[in-house]
Amino acid sequence: MKSPWIMAAALAIGCALPALAQDKVKLVDVIELSGAGASAGTNFKNGADLAAADINAKGGILGKPVEVIHYDTQTNPGATRAAVQRAIDEDAYAILGPVFSGPISASMQISQRAEVAQIVAGEAAGFTQQGNPYIFRTSLSQSAAMPKIAKYLKDTVKAGSVAVVWVNNDFGKGGRDAILPELEKAGIKVAADIATEQGQADFAADAIKVKNANADAIFVYLNEDESARFLRAAKQQGVAKPMIGETTLLGAKVIELAGDAANGVKGHVGLSVDAPLPGLQDFGKRFQQKYGYVSDHNGIKGYMAVHMVKWATEKQKKLDRKGLADTLRGATITVAEEPGILIDTTILKNGDLDRESFLAEVVDGKQVINTVLPKLNP
């Protein structure tokens, strides 16, 4: 006699579960909270938390509160795969992160198989060239950024030769492979091609090699902590040539860690709280108020990622995982429509982005934006 009741109860609970899952918008952030990517990951996490707080203060998404759960990937591809699988098993509506390109490449097939959108912060060109319709960037890809840097080296820095210092991981290797052809096209000679290791602590030998290469400029493409260590080592060795880089060289965290050694560094910046855009500046102030330090580009990416989910969900007017990815693909999100996106952004079909970017310089320990560069396809 008991079994029909038990079956009925089980059925009722089974039917109720999806409804319970829909009571909130559950986002799982698989992110580097320890290991070599801890600085970047912590910024992304804080940005995502700030976005969730802002959205919930205004009534959530379609009236449902946003919940962001963070799982530490330890900057380890294996742990990232496990975290993404856990997110899928726990019915995440969308996955945020990670930041490092290697762990992204190692884990994105899992979210693709589950047809769940994964909104990441990596910059390596490769992972959006594999036909995965569920992967979305929050930053410009290297293939978009490197031509701008080569042009900057040629026209502004007037460099005839460049020493390239890069980190030997997916991010660094992708950047190196993207910049070398651009330098060649611009007629700039590569005076030294120096690989370094992720998590490397001692950069004295690399700084000496750079100094002895006697290039007109140095292109530095390392992760944040290593960028700061390299800048310090270069200053200790008396390297006086212009240091040019991308967002990871001019970020707030690098400036804080490198101290005086960051002054004079120049380059291309995809996102910055100092950019002449009210949304970005306001975000920067509120982030600093809440966390007590200046957000780097990864903090902005975390904030944008949650707002990309918000915009697409409100656009499709339902919590549909697959529909979320379909809505994001090919979309243009404007600040007028969704202020939390902070800067007008076009999402290409492969998950790459097109938007304005900036040329910046570090002056007296602060990032100063000199020029606003237009979208590649305005």
Partner: protein, 292 residues
Amino acid sequence: MAEFVAFLIAGVATGAIYALAAIGFTLVWQTSQTINFAQGEFVMLPAVLVLLAVKLLGAPLWLGALVGILAFILVFGLGFKVVVVDPMIRHGVLPLAIATMALSTIMKEGAKDGFSAEAQNFPSFVPTGTVEVLGAAVSLQHAAIIVVALAAIGLLQWFVGGTRLGRQMQATAQNPTVARILGIPVERMVLLTFVINAALAVVASVLISPLYLAKFSNGETIGLFAFIAAIVGGFNQVRGALVGGLLIGVVDSLAAAYVSTQYRLAVPLILLVAIILLKPEGLMGRKEERRI
């Protein structure tokens, strides 16, 4: 030539740090016949504690440094011996070695959770700049590391060999039973060894953190290289740790310069294997025989 000299001096500076940490390995080995696998974390933690003291107390750097360093020496000099070594050594050296592995994880995770997972800026007491040595520009930071580290090691050597207290310490390390019969306060000597180890770790930490930044994971690299240095130089000799540290630092720097950065770690490891095969007691170590 100038380029080679620059690489050499950078290597000597890094090697001096490895030597300070490697001496810690030999001191603990001599007094407890075990390996302190938390030695790298001993070098990582003082810088973190200094920054933590500055943050929590809102104190100026000098006061934070004083509080952080004293707290470290108290907890990881005195405390390490009383809480970890004394209770575990009765059960043999293997449980103690395993306990130091646990301590290493606790120190690393404690620094991460109690302070920060992110790297932090650590101020340098040396101004930025270079001096010319044999045509090569040598950074003042590297020059200071070499001078201070070698001075600390020289002071230790003088203390051990040239003072009554030091000779008592040495006697305790060589044969505690005979030392006790001769009236040497063995327990106090062992404690002194652990305090000296903690003090050397503080020196290494303060010297290297302005370059490596203060981060919970710094001990991994330093601990590994110092361990290799101690084996290469000779685990039972302080001067062996000095030679091993300098050699590993120079080999690492030259490997990064003339082999490749990717394979720089492999070169000291190859040297380690060669030493184990050809001179297992280390370059400066003395042979030890034990009855099992």
